[in-house]
Subunit: 344 residues, 2 copies
């Protein structure tokens, strides 16, 4: 309807770009940035749900010989953006049941995520306990966007429940709208590409906060998994955290190790989107500085526009078996060792 | 008065820590985090202003054979936090006059900064034009904290004035309170050390924003200098910016180079606080990835707690003459070449 009145790049963005219309099946407060080319790969346009699985099987699972694939949903983590926590909790609960009923049976390689609405930690903890013993639900998942950094005591009921059922707590890029309006500091940037490049910045706060509040002293076996926030920023943040902690540790007397030591023990990072410098040695030095051999886990981001292909991932060849599977088996203990291949 | 009622670390922090009381001579909206040990070096406690200079001369300027030292003030950049832009602009104007009248004459090595209150870009531009031709005022300076990312057209009158008088636009860590309340995403972290380690995150947005809005196409000779925000985060952000720009450049058709190319040409970083990894090779690889030999300029942060000493800075020895002075002479053209030593 508007198309005849638009021209040039604006017309292109309106035609090609992400829309909040009929596709947005999962209610959420939308972020203020629109993807100018839409999120999905142009070669992945399923017409039906059955089709959705068959395309994924062909273009991803079979093609790359995936042994186990952890489903993270797409829009459900956006429940964290809704003002009404009861509605948000009901929505993720429904999504989790749908996932168990309709997706896990499709393929024995599929593992599930218990999606939570973290804005009500008690309801989130109840959801974790409700499904936490399902043998194929392997992680608890929330959005990176949140109303507070995740180490805050406000969220501790969530970690208590995770520890109780023995599941890692994972966050995934997303939830940057609605009640989680503060996605970047000091205020919203303007363009999608500009914003996407720095949209991982809340993850810096979550790492700092989870460590500083002593979450890993209270729950030493808890894994915190950061998905789709990139990885090359990690060493620089750890260097700063260690230096500042050494100077001012009296603020947090409950800590017993350096921030980088907690990170090494309790935090894991998914690879996607793996940064691509002109000189791969610069990336590898960065990955070495975060002990990437032991802290990285492959993720594909299928079926999104910036999908990482398992065969061409630029990681040191000697680390491949760990990053493509063995590290994930340490974190996701419910995945059978016989399925010891890629987790995506 | 409260001391008898406090114990342990709380008493220590109350006694030793930063206070908003009589010391806070420059009015500002204070950030919500208090430094638990106060900001100043314990061996730098001047009783008078004359004393302040003499201690600096002894412990910094003479000790490290400083050739030129750019003054950045301390609290004046906090004017950016004030709700009243007229008052804020009057305060920085008064500070600039005081700087010229009372500090520049003290020592021929001193160079000045034109402090601005960026929340009113037109008044800021007027201040830049008022003092922009003073031979010893060598940069325009604002706080990292701001109401928007600095590339926003709202701020362009400031860059127009900088270009007109031929001065770089610099930002310095600070201004994280008052109207600039959104210092970290997604919401305030809790402790000072935890926050200090990630407080540079607005600089990521400023880099992205200045490039994406085409500030360096409009003013190709403008230098943007980032002070006291650390440096090791730069490559990871440039890798992300380049990748996202390549995929979605149609959003910003006015750009003609990669984000990393604009950064290399127009953005400079002060070293302090230089990150300190366990393995210095990891830092040096990171610095190499940002062409640190040509993009870094030494800063000391004298007289603050995390002061970097010019003699023990962990930079590759071959880069020393550039980082300790020559790079600054490219950016600060008013500093006489005969003073070609350290800029602090």
């Amino acid at each position: 309807m508007l198309e005849p009145y638009l021209s040039g790049v604006w017309k292109d963005m309106f035609t090609e770009g992400e829309k909040t219309g009929p596709r947005g099946a999962f209610p959420h407060g939308h972020r203020p940035w629109f993807h100018p080319q839409d999120f999905s790969r142009k070669d992945v346009r399923p017409e039906t749900e059955a089709d959705n699985y068959l395309i994924m099987k062909e273009k991803h699972l079979d093609k790359y010989n995936v042994g186990a694939a952890i489903l993270t949903g797409d829009e459900p983590i956006e429940a964290s953006t809704l003002a009404n926590p009861y509605y948000a909790s009901a929505l993720v609960s429904a999504y989790n049941d749908y996932q168990i009923a309709e997706w896990l049976p499709k393929d024995s390689r599929f593992m599930g995520s218990i999606i939570i609405a973290p804005q009500d930690p008690k309801l989130a903890a109840a959801e974790i306990r409700r499904l936490g013993n399902h043998p194929r639900m392997v992680q608890v998942l929330a959005s990176q966007g949140s109303v507070k950094p995740y180490g805050d005591p406000f969220y501790h009921p969530i970690f208590e429940a995770c520890a109780e059922v023995g599941l890692p707590f994972a966050i995934h890029l997303g939830g940057h709208g609605g009640i989680n309006w503060n996605a970047v500091a000091p205020a919203p940037t303007t363009f999608f590409w500009e914003t996407h490049a720095i949209l991982h910045m809340s993850a810096l706060s979550h790492v700092a906060s989870m460590i500083a509040h002593g979450v890993f002293e209270k729950w030493p076996d808890l894994y915190f998994v950061i998905i789709e926030c990139g990885v090359a920023w990690v060493p620089s943040v750890l260097w700063r955290l260690d230096a500042d902690y050494k100077a001012l540790r009296k603020e947090t007397p409950w800590l017993k190790m350096l921030p980088s030591e907690y990170c090494r023990r309790n935090i894991r990072f998914s690879t996607q989107p793996l940064e691509q410098p002109a000189n791969v040695q610069h990336l590898w030095s960065t990955l070495e500085a975060m002990d990437g051999e032991n802290t990285l886990m492959f993720a594909s981001d299928y079926p999104h526009w910036d999908y990482d292909d398992a065969n061409t991932l630029h990681i040191p060849p000697a680390w491949k078996s760990k990053i493509m599977g063995l590290n994930a088996l340490e974190v996701y203990k419910r995945i059978p060792r016989t399925q010891a291949a890629n987790a995506a």
